[in-house]
């Protein structure tokens, strides 16, 4: 079976759990004998040679002459609106709003030579523009690539998936790692929400990363339940031993993720404020960046807790591992977390985790401490317990490792393969 997979992130170009999940899934599918071509905006060039194929949208030649794809795009209407894609922005500074105009988005088909489009592969201020360009470039694979099925990850690639399906008639599976409701609460960006809804509607099957997310897809987007499968993410086996910790009296409490509404960083800070006076050796780390970082730093300063906090900014994977090695407890207070793969990564590194009940990963972990994201008193209690009573850490380490061994990508991708087969027959 040949799958054309569309995604925004793939290691080493990753910003969060999306890239990690795509990597694990592809490896799992390859294990089951599936041939995968993964198309991302651009490759880093640092990827090791492997049994799957990676392709950058910036490498795809868009032709000068009339093709079925160029004809298709002439019938497509684009949104031209001022927008600000808050939760994705990587910068601390809010950029000036961009106006997205169709003529600038797509190249004129009257150009005489084939063209390669420009991509950043990031979540910048021109994200929507880049999403359109990606869909345009990828659509030319309709004639050039051989595949049985299209698999698109998150709204960023749904337009490309829809275009390919319309051009080839091949089945489309869309994977949802996070919905716009997770990222923005009850005020979704209408453009992104519409793209998601259109992806769900045109797909032959939707894969949600948890039952939690599946219910959002059904309730908020009106997708028929039988069309939505919940297939949990997994974690790749540990490929390294934890580094011996230097002898520190410091106890490190870690938040890792985009510093956005969705991830609930403010609940972490409020819990820290309750804990800090009681545990003088506790040090709090906020690893990640996002549109809430400034207000979080302000709040920490206001609480006079700056000397107890470290803000690391975005960390590349190797440094995430280093951070886990230094951490005594990992806290994931997400307001709405479709899955939360980083909790599994923390456990894999032997770090006990406290996760919000509003997360997909809570469905698969029995040996984790769970708390409602808003209950900062309880969160502070739990962190205190983990830091003060080593028995808890030992207990969770032992049993969580067993649980983790069940959460393998081979298993998850076997289910994905079943999903493929259901739409191919």
């Amino acid at each position: 079976m040949k799958v054309l997979m569309l995604g925004w992130e793939f290691p080493p170009r990753i910003a969060g759990g999306l890239g990690v999940a795509c990597y694990g899934l592809v490896k799992g599918l390859v294990h089951h004998g599936v041939s995968v071509t993964f198309v991302m905006p651009l490759r880093s060039g640092q990827e090791p040679p492997n049994s799957y194929r990676l392709l950058g949208a910036n490498e795809i030649e868009t032709p000068a002459e009339e093709t079925p794809a160029t004809t298709f795009w002439k019938q497509v209407r684009f949104y031209g609106v001022e927008t600000y894609l808050g939760p994705y922005l990587e910068q601390l500074e809010r950029p000036i709003l961009t106006f997205l105009a169709v003529p600038e988005t797509l190249p004129e088909t009257t150009t005489s030579a084939p063209l390669r489009l420009f991509f950043t592969g990031k979540y910048g201020a021109d994200l929507l523009d880049e999403v359109y360009r990606y869909a345009y470039a990828v659509s030319f694979l309709a004639q050039r690539e051989e595949f049985d099925l299209i698999h698109a990850h998150d709204w960023l690639t749904y337009l490309a998936g829809i275009a390919l399906k319309r051009l080839t008639g091949k089945p489309l599976v869309v994977h949802i790692h996070a919905t716009e409701y997770d990222r923005s609460g009850e005020n979704p960006n209408p453009i992104i929400r519409d793209i998601e809804a259109q992806g769900f509607a045109e797909a032959d099957l939707v894969i949600a990363v948890s039952f939690y997310t599946r219910s959002i897809v059904i309730e908020k987007y009106g997708v028929p339940p039988e069309k939505v499968w919940a297939i949990h993410n997994a974690v790749l086996p540990k490929d390294r031993q934890p580094v011996e910790r230097p002898p520190h009296k410091r106890k490190v409490v870690t938040f890792l993720g985009r510093v956005t509404y969705q991830k609930g960083p403010e609940y972490f800070v409020e819990a820290a404020a309750r804990l800090a006076p009681k545990v003088p050796e506790a040090h709090f780390v906020v690893a990640g960046t996002g549109d809430k970082l400034r207000s979080i730093i302000h709040r920490v300063a206001e609480l006079r807790l700056g000397s107890r906090f470290s803000f690391t900014g975005f960390l590349p994977p190797a440094e995430v591992e280093r951070l886990f090695d230094l951490s005594d407890v990992y806290v994931m207070p997400s307001v709405s977390e479709p899955f939360g793969i980083s909790a599994l990564e923390a456990l894999r590194a032997g770090v006990p985790v406290i996760i919000s009940k509003q997360s997909g990963v809570a469905e698969v972990l029995r040996y984790a401490l769970k708390v409602d994201f808003w209950d900062v008193e309880r969160l502070a209690d739990l962190i205190y317990g983990v830091l003060q009573y080593p028995a808890i850490t030992q207990f969770f380490r032992k049993f969580a490792q067993e649980e983790l061994s069940q959460l393998q990508w081979e298993r998850s991708s076997a289910r994905v393969l079943q999903a493929y087969q259901s739409v191919l027959t």
Partner: protein, 418 residues
């Protein structure tokens, strides 16, 4: 307001057509921090951006210190110290950096001091804000700075200036108690009310202490507006500027121009004509035989105080508010400042001889620039705040500083147990 003292006869004759200009230049450079990350805490104890600090010091030495010192020496030699003298305050951290990165700049200052046309002022060694938090640390640093001036210049300062001209009543009494006879302050209306800065005053809290007040419109004409093409007076010529001094009320005899030394060649590049403007202005002024450029101690010998000044709340020379909000205005700055001085008791058990590194870092972390980089006031004063600022945002400045402080605290705690 204190009572006005009656003029008495002075040792030096003062004539009513005489005019004195007191020039004081601030020389200061901080030890800027490198990007100090969470992973460095407990691992690396080297906090400073060596390259950045070296390159900046060498650039400033070349563009400002050396050429301006040469110009001042020329003027002192031509007119004699009696007619042309200037005052400097050189922070301890700037002196350290000159020794480390630009010894020729230090030699140039020593050479200039040897002309007899320079008064060196006392300040806190690290150019910090200790006076707002700890009297002990404040006194210790003033003493340390005086020792350094003695060692490098054989100078014994008699005039004190506080970081960013921070001034308040309590400070005046400490300074007088330490034996200083004069202090510099900002000529702000909050301090003066309706009165003119162009006179000598005394401190209400310490009547023996004379106060020299910065004439901020004329100082800032050079320091900030000189090369601003949107300023209606642009371009400022030596003749025009000299004319403004001549048109001041005849009885206002003491005009104090205080500014950062980096104004010459760095804030205002040589290409703006700042050097030739300065020289031409001094020459123009000195054509009048009654004009002299004097230093604060000479001003004390000539002039009598005409009133007392009170400052229950600290004032500074910064920004339009003339208060402390540039350093201690937002929560990040206050948190950093309070966290820093919470460490002071830990230092008291550690002798500088046994723990030279800890004491060096303790001083360098107190430098006011670290707090200035965390300022979030981005209005008219933002341009000034961005100058020499190594960080992209005040948030980065705060995060870096607090990481450093976390490591420094651990080192202090470990040293207690040794």
């Amino acid at each position: 307001m204190g009572k006005v003292q009656r003029p008495r006869l002075t040792s030096l004759p003062i004539r009513l057509n005489m005019r004195h200009i007191c020039l004081y230049f601030q020389v200061h450079q901080p030890f800027r921090l490198r990007i100090y990350r969470f992973f460095d805490i407990g691992e690396l104890h080297d906090y400073y951006h060596e390259l950045n600090n070296r390159v900046l010091m060498q650039r400033i030495a070349k563009k400002c210190y050396l050429p301006m010192n040469a110009l001042l020496k020329k003027l002192i030699t031509r007119y004699t110290p009696e007619r042309f003298s200037v005052a400097f305050s050189i922070s301890g951290t700037a002196l350290e950096q000159m020794q480390l990165y630009a010894p020729e700049a230090l030699e140039s200052f020593q050479d200039l001091y040897a002309t007899g046309g320079v008064e060196l002022l006392a300040e806190t060694y690290a150019h910090g804000l200790a006076s707002l938090k700890s009297e002990t640390e404040f006194r210790r640093q003033v003493q340390l700075h005086a020792q350094t001036l003695q060692k490098l210049f054989s100078a014994q300062p008699k005039t004190f200036r506080n970081t960013e001209l921070v001034f308040f009543d309590q400070l005046a009494s400490w300074v007088a108690d330490m034996g200083y006879t004069a202090i510099l302050a900002e000529g702000a209306s909050t301090l003066l009310g309706w009165r003119s800065p162009n006179f000598l005053y005394t401190a209400a809290a310490a009547p023996s202490l004379r106060i020299l007040l910065r004439n901020y419109p004329l100082s800032d004409d050079i320091a900030f507006r000189f090369s601003d093409p949107t300023w209606p007076e642009y371009p400022l010529t030596a003749e025009k500027f000299a004319q403004w001094f001549r048109s001041l009320p005849k009885h206002e005899l003491l005009i104090n121009l205080f500014m950062d030394y980096e104004t010459f060649g760095e804030h205002q590049w040589a290409e703006t004509g700042i050097f030739s403007f300065f020289e031409a202005w001094v020459e123009n002024m000195l054509q009048d035989k009654e004009v002299r450029y004097i230093t604060p101690q000479t001003a004390l010998a000539y002039h009598e105080p005409i009133g007392q000044l009170e400052a229950p709340k600290p004032l500074s020379w910064a920004d339009s508010e003339r208060d402390l909000t540039a350093w201690l205005g937002n929560d990040m700055q206050l948190d950093a400042f309070e966290s820093l001085y919470a460490l002071e008791p830990l230092l008291q058990n550690l002798s500088p001889e046994q723990h030279p590194d800890l004491h060096r870092d303790w001083l360098r972390l107190q430098t006011s620039d670290h707090f200035y980089y965390m300022c979030t006031k981005f209005f008219a004063d933002g341009d000034v705040h961005k100058y020499f600022n190594p960080y992209d945002s005040p948030y980065e400045a705060y995060v870096t500083y607090m990481n450093v402080l976390a490591d420094f605290r651990t080192r202090l705690q470990n040293a207690q147990n040794d």
